[in-house]
């Protein structure tokens, strides 16, 4: 049962990330998502200080806000400061992450959050934190509920904004020419990524969530350029990473999140080989 819940949480997280990741890869925003995942840390802490609890809604809002702020700062440094975009990303996320680490160290006693957890979370603990309805009925791990709701929200977002997201991702000039609000969709996506990052924070940590965002999507993009196929493949890869990562972690007794990223690497290398073979045959 324990393995089942862990794999379920991991799959839900991986699939949510993989779906959003497809758009990030297509929009060349992979490193922006890396920046967001680092810089939500101070947002989580500030939300904690304001509400005094690790209640997930407050943290989702706090981190969503910080995610938007990060992208705004990056754009600002790039546009107004004439700073090249790679340096703008690097300067912004390291500064915010350093601030987060300082806050964690300063308030270590009051907050049940250590720096290891920040980095790679501990998905194996999530099944222990169950939701008791009315104090008695066991409704399963809280993380399952949070991630399910988030996955549904992301699916709804993609379903409702499918055409807009597709157009703004592939040809933003055309999209704005026919009257789509490209910046609005950009920031909606950033908001969705930030919220997913926070929700995934407890399970996989701030840095390895990047692996889940980028790797399945990039691997899917290697095999197909068609968005529906990409989304489908990325979803399958996400589930595969969750299952294979879990058993790899159990086998060598290590972090599940680390094992999932390792499997993502294996998957990518295999896909790279497959795509080369297909290319040389055709």
């Amino acid at each position: 049962m324990f393995a089942f819940w862990t794999i379920l949480v991991a799959s839900l997280t991986a699939v949510t990330c993989a779906l959003l990741g497809c758009y990030l890869v297509l929009r060349k925003m992979a490193m922006v998502s890396d920046a967001i995942s680092h810089s939500i840390l101070p947002g989580i802490l500030v939300a904690f200080f304001i509400t005094g609890s690790r209640d997930s809604t407050a943290m989702l809002i706090g981190a969503g806000f910080l995610g938007l702020l990060t992208t705004i700062i990056i754009e600002f440094l790039h546009r107004k400061g004439n700073l090249q975009s790679d340096a703008a990303i690097g300067v912004t996320f390291t500064a915010l992450f350093a601030l987060g680490v300082i806050l964690v160290s300063a308030f270590a006693e009051q907050i049940d959050l250590d720096t290891d957890c920040v980095l790679y979370g501990e998905i194996a603990y999530t099944p222990l934190d169950v939701w008791l309805l009315g104090g008695t009925t066991n409704m399963g791990p809280k993380a399952v509920w949070t991630m399910t709701i988030l996955l549904l929200m992301v699916l709804l977002f993609i379903y409702l904004g499918y055409k807009e997201l597709l157009l703004t991702s592939f040809d933003s000039a055309f999209a704005s020419a026919i009257g789509l609000r490209t910046m609005l969709w950009h920031y909606l996506l950033v908001g969705a990524v930030s919220m997913t990052t926070v929700a995934a924070f407890e399970s996989v940590g701030a840095i390895l969530v990047v692996a889940l965002l980028i790797c399945p999507a990039a691997t899917a993009y290697l095999l197909s350029s068609r968005l529906p196929v990409m989304l489908g493949l990325a979803t399958c890869f996400g589930v595969f990473l969750a299952i294979s990562g879990y058993y790899l972690a159990v086998w060598i007794d290590g972090s599940i999140a680390g094992a999932m990223s390792t499997m993502a690497g294996v998957l990518f290398v295999v896909a790279l080989g497959v795509s080369k073979v297909i290319k040389s045959n055709s």
Binding site: G81, A87, V91, T94, A95, L119, A264
Partner: protein, 447 residues
């Protein structure tokens, strides 16, 4: 005096102890971190100019699996083994990024994110496996993630100091070559520089700087030590030599600050503070640097706008003078607005400024300020004439040399008339051979 301060305040006491470097431990840690910060800042300048800053981030993360593998193979924390391991995987990550970008359709940012997260994931997997494995030697291995400046003592310190010194000497020795490939790789290739070897050198230097630097700030924040000092220094200068020295100074300053904070509050992480302080220095540079800083540029833009407004008003005076056939006739505000639709506050403020500068004079007729009369001075006449001349010369140039229809040239000339320098003015005049009329058949005035 010193004694007095000494007795006054325990804080001053601690500060004094820190800055006089009495404590051998403090001495080592400060010296070590400063040197590490300097070497990464110097190399960072070149990666910054080559727009490869984020690749440095990938190298930093990719060092972790190397450290863990080396530990697994060596069975202990032998600094040479860890160094070799981190160097190899750091290098490998750059090779992977290069391969993915050049051989697949994935873009560079995806490649960097992919390599960064996978290498780091493998590192975390190995690290946790080692920690659960129960090898007593492993304690302190996780220090590489956030750095462990306080542990920079003894033989390790000597090793890293030698490496930093080696790195700085190499940069100094190949400064000219590195500059060339940072700015213009194509040109370097054409004039016969061994570009591939130099690229290799820069890659090696980057990996080396990261491997050395993570001792102080750790893999996660290492990118900042490469990028941030360089980005901050860039706001102050256009000269690479100055930029490198400045970046090194900023890095060193932040390193001392970070050590100080963690000396005063022992539970504070040195690495995170160094990065935070260097980021503050960058924010300061971004805002206040002369010329390139945000405030300086904002001020300059405003000055330009004011000058444009003033010149437009003077030009309107000149046009009115042409109509009146008397350039020193005086006009009310309404008469000026009839000629060109200025917004009234814009016009009034512009006229006030021009009056202060001595280009126009004001005659107070009657009680109503709206009825006051405005008139050119000789200086105003000359400047108005020049702007008008430049406008019309530019229209001629566009129609004659760029073959643009006469009814399309006005807009462009509206901007160019404010920008053309006296040298360009001379060239235009001689080149077009002092034409009499512009494309709309109005006379071009010369002094």
């Amino acid at each position: 005096m010193l004694l007095l301060l000494y007795s006054l305040n325990p804080m001053t006491d601690a500060l004094l102890k820190f800055f006089t470097l009495q404590d051998a431990n403090v001495r080592y840690v400060v010296l070590g971190t400063v040197l590490l910060a300097i070497s990464s800042a110097v190399v960072g300048c070149f990666t910054f100019l080559k727009k490869k800053s984020l690749a440095g981030d990938a190298v930093a993360h990719a060092v972790l699996p190397g450290i863990c593998l080396a530990f697994l193979l060596a069975g202990n924390k032998n600094p040479w083994a860890l160094l070799a391991g981190s160097f190899i995987t750091g290098w490998l990550s750059l090779v992977c990024i290069d391969f993915i970008t050049s051989k697949t359709k994935l873009k560079e940012d995806t490649a960097i994110g992919l390599v960064l997260s996978i290498f780091f994931g493998v590192g975390i997997l190995l690290l946790t496996a080692i920690q659960h494995g129960g090898n007593a030697e492993q304690a302190g291995l996780e220090g590489f993630i956030f750095g462990k400046a306080a542990a920079l003592i003894g033989a390790d310190l000597v090793l890293f100091m030698v490496l930093s010194a080696l790195l700085l000497c190499t940069v100094a020795l190949f400064f000219k070559e590195l500059t060339l490939i940072a700015f213009d790789e194509q040109y370097a290739k054409v004039i016969g520089f061994p570009v591939r070897w130099l690229e290799l050198l820069l890659t090696t230097l980057t990996v080396l700087a990261v491997v050395v630097g993570i001792q102080a700030v750790g893999v996660v924040l290492m990118a900042a030590m490469l990028i941030t000092p360089a980005a901050a220094a860039r706001f102050w200068t256009d000269k690479l030599q100055v930029m490198v020295v400045l970046a090194a100074l900023l890095g060193a300053l932040a390193a001392v600050g970070g050590c100080l904070v963690s000396y005063l509050h022992t539970n504070m992480p040195t690495g995170a503070w160094i990065v935070f302080l260097v980021s503050l220095l960058a924010v300061f540079s971004f805002l206040f640097a002369p010329k390139k800083g945000l405030i300086a540029r904002h001020y300059k833009q405003k000055q330009h706008k004011l000058r444009f407004a003033e010149e437009n008003i003077l030009k309107t005076f000149y046009h009115l003078g042409e109509k009146q056939k008397d350039f020193f006739h005086s006009y009310t505000l309404n008469e000026i607005v009839e000629k060109r639709k200025f917004e009234s506050t814009y016009l009034q403020k512009g006229l006030e400024r021009l009056k202060k500068q001595g280009y126009v004079v004001q005659q107070k007729v009657g009680a109503n300020p709206a009825q006051y009369l405005w008139q050119f001075t000789t200086e105003g006449y000359e400047r108005g004439l020049r702007v008008t001349k430049l406008h019309r010369l530019w229209e001629i140039y566009l129609t004659k040399y760029l073959r643009i229809a006469p009814d399309h040239v006005h807009e462009d000339a509206e901007t160019m008339e404010h920008i053309i320098t006296p040298e360009l003015e001379k060239t235009l005049e001689t080149w077009l051979n002092y034409p009499k009329n512009d494309p709309h058949n109005t006379e071009i005035p010369y002094r």
